[in-house]
Subunit: 435 residues, 2 copies
């Protein structure tokens, strides 16, 4: 695997002594598993082995689903949603669900339970009427409202379609090993299950069965992905800041925050990375946004958004910086043809590729934004394959955990999310709920 590299424009990546001490302390929190707030949530530090028992079981379940179903319906929200979907959208055909089965590599995959929209759930179920469906419901507790409601509705729909006995063979639950409603329901219903490790918070769970099972069903090589993640673990286990680009990224963004850069914009040049940006926004927003602290995580897709908030980036208030995900070797390409008479004045590009033009757009924007006083961090990703994506997931998880500790918050809790929920339960009339 070629290495991911970190570059920076208009940012001094030299760091002074005081930050080195803080990095050492944060590093110790992560590796000595004690003493810090959130120390019970470090299970993600060691991703599953690529050829261990879990990987085998996941591949077995994926083969079962791929052999039996036209459609996998994944029900989950938050950390039980974004990562798996991000991996699938990055690594498979941009119109995967619309491909004919022989080109698709696995069943169609849809996501449900990530909102409370009646038109979405009704619309989705309407196109699945005559399809053969298997459900993967994902919830650590089983009490997350959106997931539980969607699952109840889907369960009724499946019973109508298949009857109770066959429905039970078509549900796979990913949940806590021993506790919670979904575990209890799964045991009563005799569903196949996968465990969400107790010591992994939702937003750090993409490399557990939460994300791995849907990705495996999509035909993604999850063993390569785990290999990439474990490479990243090894590569980023050193506290030597000169060697560890994951820590460099974490330290750089905290330095930028201290310089008044309040907003970080994650930039990609491939539309398939849009969901990865959503995963990243949850990871950082939920880990850091507390105690009145945290960088506001935003995202853009270039070049689409160069024609949109690109104007703001170039000339608005100077309180933002960009982190660019640049893929060096796009896995496919299109060459621009010559056109007689050159009516659109593009013949100067004839014989050039779309990737080449995309790259010049990237260079052009990088230079313009840097000159416009927007610092840029660039992550150069050799290829978008399962191994590099596994590496990337791990890179950002570890960077986020370190960054949270540098900021002085617990990167593994989410006390603010509870407030909206409590209000909602009160309004819904749930017994036992109080404001």
């Amino acid at each position: 695997m070629s290495k991911i590299r970190l570059e920076a424009t208009a940012i001094d990546l030299r760091f002074d002594e005081s930050i080195l001490e803080q990095v050492q302390q944060a590093h110790d929190y992560l590796h000595q598993n004690g003493g810090s707030a959130g120390h019970g949530f470090l299970g993600w530090i060691d991703p599953p082995a690529e050829s261990g028992e879990l990987a085998e079981e996941l591949l077995g379940a994926a083969a079962y689903i791929r052999g039996k179903a036209d459609v996998l319906l994944v029900i989950g929200i938050g950390g039980s949603y974004a990562g798996g979907r991000a991996g699938i959208e990055m690594l498979t055909h941009p119109f995967r669900n619309q491909l004919p089965p022989e080109q698709r590599n696995g069943p169609e995959i849809y996501f449900l339970g990530q909102n409370l929209s009646a038109s979405y759930i009704k619309g989705l179920l309407s196109i699945l009427e005559d399809r053969d469906v298997i459900v993967n419901v994902i919830s650590k507790s089983g009490t997350t409202t959106e997931t539980a409601i969607a699952f109840r509705i889907v369960l009724g729909w499946m019973h109508n379609k298949y009857g109770a006995k066959e429905t039970a063979r078509r549900i796979i639950a990913t949940t806590d090993r021993s506790k919670g409603n979904l575990r209890r329901i799964s045991e009563a219903g005799d569903y196949r299950t996968f465990d969400i490790p107790e010591d992994v918070a939702g937003r750090y769970s993409v490399l557990t069965p939460v994300g791995l099972l849907p990705m495996a069903v999509a035909g993604i090589d999850i063993q390569s992905m785990l290999r990439g993640a474990r490479d990243a673990r090894d590569q980023y286990s050193t506290c030597d800041l000169t060697q560890n680009i994951c820590y460099q990224y974490a330290v750089a963004r905290n330095k930028l925050l201290n310089q008044g850069k309040l907003i970080e914009i994650l930039v990609s040049y491939e539309p398939g990375m849009a969901l990865f940006a959503e995963w990243w926004k949850q990871l950082f927003g939920e880990s850091e946004g507390k105690d009145g602290k945290g960088i506001f995580p935003a995202s853009v897709q270039f070049t689409t958004d160069l024609h949109s908030i690109g104007q703001y980036v170039q000339q608005g208030p100077r309180h933002l910086f960009e982190t660019i995900l640049w893929v060096e070797d796009a896995h496919c390409n299109v060459e621009l043809p010559e056109l007689a008479g050159d009516p659109d004045e593009l013949n100067y590009l004839a014989g050039k590729t779309l990737n080449f033009v995309n790259e010049q757009a990237f260079f052009g924007a990088l230079q313009a934004h840097t000159e416009g006083d927007v610092p840029n961090l660039v992550l150069r990703i050799p290829r978008l394959d399962a191994q590099h994506v596994g590496h990337l997931f791990y890179f950002f998880e570890k960077a986020c955990a370190l960054s949270g500790y540098l900021l002085g918050v617990n990167p593994f809790d989410q006390p603010g999310v509870e407030m909206s929920k409590r209000n909602m339960f009160k309004l819904l009339g749930k017994s036992g709920s109080t404001l």
Copy 2:
């Protein structure tokens, strides 16, 4: 049509004398069409008549496309992209392209030219191989790189598929009335064309043929949409701030900016509104983000993102406010069934609807965020139908123009977008380009 209403929490909507004078001046800029920077770009102030010649021509072209094609391929970027797609996603089935033809109401509709991704363009064309395609290429100048490149590639693909003569009957160009490459190409190729008014900037062009033709092809009642927009024009033509909620919104957000609220988050509770948020981000980001000024426009989809950056909104730095698009009467609904034994503990919601639960989530988040010191503006939209969406497009266009003038910038130019482009052309080796 029921009225759209504006409510606010934690924001004092009373305004002092000095702001009233500024509003009067900005209002005069917009209505007297002279004296201001950007005065040549006020064509959007009067939306086309619902039963005028243009509406008839658009309906005629839409009928032709609906009768002839399986697929409409729309090629455009920025203002020639986001609005039409937003309207279609808000007003049609969430999986419209995957519905069987008899349920779909018009051809499948895809968008191209809004990025430089080889895998996207190749992926899209691969699923269209055996479909009957008509193309709508949209560009005022015809020199926008993404659009021109996609159009050149598609033209070659169409020639292979249909030959030159039939291809010409399958291309409709939306472009400047008399100038530019695309106008010249259209005349040479004998394509049917629609005009983009000279006095409307891209991001204000959704209610011109740019947005209206794709929406009409999708079966959206564009005459109702224009009626809604013209209602909005009448309703927001008064300078009386107590009567004009469009101006109230513009003034409130400037007041919030002056109080240190640097980020505005547009919130919706329907996933179908995600593209509308992208349209809104371009409108405000490109209109206001200049001269070191402007509110950073961000967006979230709740309840999805209550489980993501909801944490940051609740407890991060207090430099943000929310503008919520709340749809009062969702056009479809799902009732929650009773489940024997109540294994998921949701029977307290049996007989309640998904919309009811979504509404309590909205109330719960509104209250929690307000208590968390995040000011909230709420736009209550009676229904998501063509008429109300037309009203909404106009509401935000006029609010944005007024807001830009209040901020002291020209809301109709985009000088910063040119810088990235110039760099790119230089790097691409385009003759005549200089840095």
